[in-house]
Symmetry: C2
Subunit: 314 residues, 2 copies
């Protein structure tokens, strides 16, 4: 079942848009990841990244990039900027993929199944998994700073800045540390929100902002996209908590019910299922409102991605 | 005992220079690392970075920066460029520190002693150690891309590019992967050299190049500094292999003899002690020659650091 009941029909057909953009992301990832790495390491890196995942973060980068380009004060889409956006899309996915590799390791969640496949440490061993994750993080920043491109240095530097902050101790890694320290601990709603803002929200919001930078979004639009990213990012986690309860492992492609089993605080344990669903819906409304307030003429893909985040069933 | 016998008296007194520059690096690291991170994570990050280490990589950044600034075609030292150099110095140390944290973990070298202290996973647990390493890598790129500074975007982007390449699959992480796959394997001297070029050489050379970029080195000087970095970086590893055999654990501050115990190929196992010492000396001569060829008026700190690398006893 989907996390939150459908209440309106989509105004934009996301499927062909996603298919088209995913194809470009998959091609770029396949072309770039693991090449030039020693064989064993490159294999583990490619295994961790290719053939799997919803690619939500790359799609957010590309949707935000196109939305920004649609604005009169933003840049027109050009091959150079499109290259920047594809690189940013791949970079956020590399950070996401590395975090999953490390998160699945025995000393963390000790998970053996991811996207329906054995996790990287099960397939390659723990030490190669650790190194592959480390190398994927470095490669994300390498992708953002090509030396043979016309991407302006200011764009390259800003993308690195946004990605580093989203991935680091005041972002994803920081959220994971709070998560780790929260097992069996009673969190308030504020504390839970703060944990998720960092753990998953920072990189989702960062994806939107990196797309906005590639499309040279003006200040007002940038702030609105930032608000969109914050609401959508939090909604993603609320829905994740809901799905951990209502979906089964086969649908999720990972172990269901593991948060409850691990005695981790979730939105469902804190608010109950119905209020958690209502909260996800409210965040979706907030995300849509931010897009309307952005002044950008075409934010349909971003709107549809937020819908998908809240209404997904896995 | 030192790795290679002294053959000439130093032409530059490194001690006061190092003391002065180390103080700036320590102050900057202490000011920056771990702040804004959740408490547990920040503590582990600071533990991994502060109060220890020779800080060779930061000193190489600062020495290369000053050498580049001394060139007529390079930049004059300014507060902005000095800030860039200090940030680069800290960033390379963060990458080095994170690699040690992960390298010491049970699934890698399983080492309990580092710089005379319990390793991070012994002190904080494996999962926090994993996350602290991950967060330190991200923070390195964050330090290079401040949004409230006058450091030119082109310098920021170039520093990120150099650091990502030095740290990633075609650099440090790649070398570690080869190392991991080489236990009990008979390597040729070429293969051993390639492993070390990546594993330790890439970040040492990267440190020199990052300093050169901060000082706006001209092309000829940049290439010469690159050659210096390659020779010095390889010498570092040859000497490491020598010290693993001739020094004791107390002097090293880490477990001695562990390469031989782990049946890892080393320069000593491949060449024998005397030829390994002669090779280190030849690389030192090569490093000095590169500095002479750089055309830079003042490369004394770099020369003295190369001397130190080869003549150190721990």
């Amino acid at each position: 079942m989907s996390a939150v009941p459908m209440s309106q029909s989509p105004v934009f057909d996301l499927a062909p848009w996603s298919q088209n953009h995913l194809a470009r992301v998959e091609q770029a990832l396949s072309q770039w990841v693991g090449h030039g790495a020693p064989a064993g390491l490159g294999d583990a890196m490619r295994y961790a990244v290719l053939d799997g995942g919803k690619r939500l973060r790359p799609l957010l980068v590309l949707a935000a990039y196109e939305a920004a380009c649609s604005g009169g004060t933003g840049a027109q889409a050009t091959p150079v900027l499109a290259d920047a956006a594809i690189r940013a899309a791949c970079a956020v996915e590399l950070i996401h993929a590395y975090s999953l590799v490390h998160d699945d390791m025995p000393c963390m969640d000790n998970d053996v199944l991811r996207r329906g496949k054995p996790t990287v440490h099960v397939q390659f061993g723990e030490a190669p998994a650790l190194l592959a994750g480390d190398a994927l993080q470095a490669f994300a920043f390498e992708l953002l700073t090509p030396d043979d491109s016309l991407i302006p240095a200011s764009v390259q530097a800003t993308l690195c800045r946004l990605l580093a902050r989203a991935a680091g101790s005041a972002g994803m890694a920081g959220g994971q540390a709070i998560d780790l320290a929260s097992v069996g601990v009673a969190l308030t709603e504020d504390q839970l929100r703060q944990m998720h803002r960092l753990k998953t929200g920072a990189l989702l919001q960062g994806s939107v902002l990196m797309g906005a930078v590639c499309g040279h979004a003006a200040a007002t639009a940038y702030q609105a996209l930032s608000d969109y990213g914050a609401a959508m990012g939090l909604a993603f986690q609320v829905v994740d908590d809901i799905l951990d309860v209502v979906a089964d492992s086969a649908t999720l492609g990972k172990t269901a019910g593991k948060d409850a089993a691990a005695d981790k605080p979730t939105y469902v344990s804190l608010l109950g299922l119905e209020r958690a669903q209502a909260y996800a819906q409210a965040l979706l409304t907030e995300a849509h409102a931010a897009l309307v307030g952005s002044g950008l003429p075409d934010t349909r893909a971003l709107a549809a991605l937020a819908d998908m985040v809240v209404r997904r069933s896995y």
